[in-house]
């Protein structure tokens, strides 16, 4: 009995010791988590001999904030939405990142000139550009939708719609469908009349809309035939269409582009190793590698040329990227300044709008 006790104590001790040296990286799981695992985490472990533990959360920003506030940080690197990264940085919850530690492009261009404009902040280094675009079932419409206004046109394109349960992206799309140019969207939303106008446009399809919350839901709703058209993360529709052969297509007009990237929570016990991992994961080549696992655009210009084939070995990824030139007409880069500030206000309004009948 005593022997067992000693043994288990030693084992747990060893477990803790191993944990202290391992690097813990928190992300979103699913196809996206897998792309990170294949593109950076596995090669990093192979090259450095360090162990990296990948853990998932619904939204890593929430547990990271809780950990830092409780002063018990067990995550060394976390993958968060850009606006969340900026907000947490403002609140002093993240370690600052010196851009000098980021690797230059293969042609020697400094990292800060190579990353897409604004994609590196004091605390966050972007890895991907993803977009919320319209996915639709090609068998439902004899004529494919081409404009964001078609999403709101129930006469010409009948069928249920799917939208994310939240204000972000929906308000922008509603305004663009109502004829506001992408460049004027946020200026319009700054005014109360602009917000009313966006909600009025959403009113026109409210009765025919299902609301999704997790990224995996829109392809499922399409596959079940519950909706004919839905907003979705472009990578999810790509995975269902190309990866699983579903009859889905993406309409890029009115897509909303956002950055996503890595942050280091304040107070991590493995700061140096975390920085090393972050620099390793964000080289031009690694970001390009990730694109062969999921159709999200790399956040570095120099990665574009390095993007190759999908993991099936026969689909070129270039045209499926939200950042491909032909997909960018009518695209709107999301304004994090706007959402960091207005997020709670507009979501309260959105929730009230949703609950009212």
């Amino acid at each position: 009995m005593k022997k067992i006790l000693v043994l288990t104590t030693a084992l747990t001790g060893a477990g803790f010791a191993a944990q202290a040296q391992d690097l813990t990286v928190m992300s979103w799981g699913g196809a996206y988590g897998e792309s990170q695992l294949e593109a950076y985490i596995k090669p990093f472990m192979a090259e450095t001999g360090k162990n990296v533990v990948a853990v998932d959360a619904d939204n890593p920003a929430t547990p990271v904030k809780a950990m830092v506030e409780a002063n018990n940080v067990t995550v060394d690197v976390a993958d968060v939405e850009f606006a969340d990264g900026v907000r947490m940085c403002d609140e002093g919850l993240l370690e600052e990142i010196d851009p000098a530690m980021l690797a230059p492009a293969p042609d020697g261009t400094a990292a800060m000139d190579d990353f897409l404009p604004g994609s590196v902040t004091d605390c966050l280094v972007s890895t991907i550009v993803y977009s919320t675009a319209i996915g639709y079932d090609t068998t439902k419409f004899p004529e494919a939708p081409t404009k964001i206004a078609d999403f709101f046109d129930l006469d010409k394109f009948p069928g249920k719609r799917g939208m994310r349960k939240g204000a972000k992206v929906n308000l922008e799309m509603a305004l663009m469908a109502d004829g506001v140019a992408p460049a004027d969207v946020y200026a319009t939303l700054e005014t109360p009349e602009g917000v009313d106008r966006a909600f009025a446009k959403l009113d026109t399809i409210k009765a025919d809309t299902l609301w999704w919350e997790a990224g995996a839901q829109p392809p499922q709703l399409l596959a079940d035939g519950e909706v004919a058209m839905t907003t979705a993360y472009n990578g999810r529709i790509f995975a269902a269409a190309v990866g699983e052969g579903k009859p889905f297509a993406i309409m890029w007009d009115g897509q909303v582009l956002e950055y996503e990237g890595y942050v280091i929570p304040k107070g991590t016990p493995n700061l140096e190793l975390a920085k090393e991992f972050l620099a390793y994961a964000t080289t031009s080549q690694k970001l390009a590698d990730q694109a062969s696992w999921i159709s999200y655009g790399p956040a570095r210009k120099s990665s574009g040329a390095l993007v190759g084939m999908y993991k099936d070995g026969k689909t070129p990824m270039g045209p499926h990227m939200p950042t491909a030139a032909e997909n960018l007409t009518g695209a709107l880069p999301s304004s994090y300044e706007f959402w960091v500030d207005k997020d709670s206000e507009l979501n309260e309004r959105f929730n009230a709008w949703l609950a009212a009948n």
């Binding site: 403002d90 519950e226 960091v340 500030d341 207005k342």
Partner: protein, 421 residues
């Protein structure tokens, strides 16, 4: 006689064999037994205190405490303390603001302070982060300098919100949870109609939970009666049918309902192929309140059946037979003899189902859509946005609502009459 003389020898007290007074010996023995009993329940007590009492206490504290602004704006806090409600912000106030902004820049806390003010007055977060960024350049007179930096600093609402947040202890989160806000003078008023949500959701949550409880009772009563009266071999089989779904994972049951109820789902397909409804008129049974009620009724049904069954099993059939033999109709027998005896089970089942329904969140999140969401989904929303004080305030109000109902139940039925099994 011998006994009597023995007791009189020790002054009238009964003693044990070794001569100690019996009363003291009994007390010692009982003490020991009590201590043992206490030690046996100690692990549970500790467990409950650690995992239940303390977290609830912390939650209640969170709902009234947020020092995001007050801890990072000491100068303004002092100014608000000195100047009562209604004082126009003067140059001294702006000087305090400027010094706090400089401090916030230094300590990188503008985001924290701004977030706190943003809870009370949406769209003000960037006011703090923006002005803190340029705080070092601020020169007196501060009022002009700050208004030049951002004219929003002149708005009374901003000062009202800062006054509200200048104390770490605040009732503001409860105020928001009741769809109230303060106007420029600091008086309470209801928020504009298109922003009211919480009161409506609380009412909807309690109404839907009540409806689910009633449906559960109506469905469970005959089933429990059957279980209690059938011969053993049939009732065992029936019991398995009740318990099997009870033991099946909640998510599995919820997602199988999605398969059954959705527009292109099994039930609609059967109805369409049977010609009951046409293909365009498929029933909408999910992603709305109907879906929430159907699925939650199914999930909570065993919580009604089991207490009812345990009570019904103990009712001797001879009572009903006696009533019939005295000339009662079957309805009278049921109403006056059987039903009153099942009341403890009805009370227990209803209370259990209702309290579980009020706090349910996974099922409404998955099948509730826009109209079937409950207050718990709003709590989850605030948790996700890391607005913990708001989530705590809503939870505390939910807790209070349940406690009030519990109290009412105790007054009307009596908690002693509760029988869970």
């Amino acid at each position: 006689m011998a006994d009597l003389s023995a007791s009189s020898a020790t002054g009238g007290l009964l003693t044990t064999a070794d001569g100690r007074p019996l009363k003291a010996a009994l007390a010692t023995a009982q003490q020991r037994a009590k201590r043992k009993a206490f030690l046996l329940v100690l692990p549970l007590l500790l467990f409950i205190v650690l995992t239940f009492i303390i977290p609830i206490g912390q939650m209640l504290q969170r709902s009234m405490y947020h020092d995001g602004f007050s801890a990072n704006a000491p100068a303004l806090k002092a100014w608000f303390a000195e100047n009562p409600q209604g004082t126009e912000p003067d140059e001294a106030a702006f000087a305090a603001l400027a010094s706090d902004l400089k401090l916030m820049k230094q300590e990188k806390t503008a985001g924290l302070a701004g977030t706190r003010i943003n809870y009370s007055l949406g769209g003000t977060r960037s006011l703090f982060t923006g002005s803190a960024r340029s705080a070092d350049k601020l020169e007196p007179p501060y009022k002009e300098a700050l208004l030049a930096d951002d004219p929003k600093w002149g708005q009374p609402a901003v000062w009202q919100a800062m006054r509200g947040a200048s104390s770490a202890y605040t009732s503001e989160f409860y105020m928001i949870a009741m769809d109230m806000q303060r106007d420029d003078q600091g008086n309470l008023e209801r928020v504009p109609e298109n922003e009211r949500i919480y009161a409506y959701l609380f009412v909807k949550t309690f109404a839907l939970s009540g409806l689910i409880t009633v449906i559960c009772l109506a469905l469970a009563f005959p089933v429990a009666h059957l279980l209690a009266t059938l011969p053993m071999k049939w009732s065992n089989l029936l019991m398995i049918l009740v318990l099997l779904p009870f033991w099946t994972s909640l998510l599995v049951r919820t997602s199988s309902w999605i398969v059954l109820l959705q527009g292109q789902g099994v039930i609609n397909n059967i109805l369409v192929s049977a010609g009951v409804v046409d293909d365009q008129g498929r029933l909408e049974m999910i992603y709305n309140a109907t879906g929430t009620v159907i699925v939650m009724t199914h999930i909570l049904l065993p919580f009604m059946i089991l207490p009812l069954y345990s009570v019904m099993r103990t009712i001797p059939p001879s009572y009903a037979r006696a009533a019939r033999s005295l000339g009662a109709t079957s309805w009278t027998t049921f109403r006056r003899i059987y039903l009153p005896q099942t009341l403890p089970g009805i009370g227990a089942g209803s209370l259990l189902v209702f309290i579980l329904a009020v706090g349910y969140y996974i099922t409404p999140a998955l099948v509730g859509g826009a109209s079937g969401s409950l207050i718990s989904n709003m709590i989850d929303f605030h948790m996700d946005k890391a607005n913990w004080s708001m989530a705590a305030a809503l939870s505390a109000m939910l807790l209070a609502g349940v406690l009030v109902l519990y109290w009412l139940y105790d007054r009307l039925v009596g908690i002693d009459n509760l029988k869970l099994g």
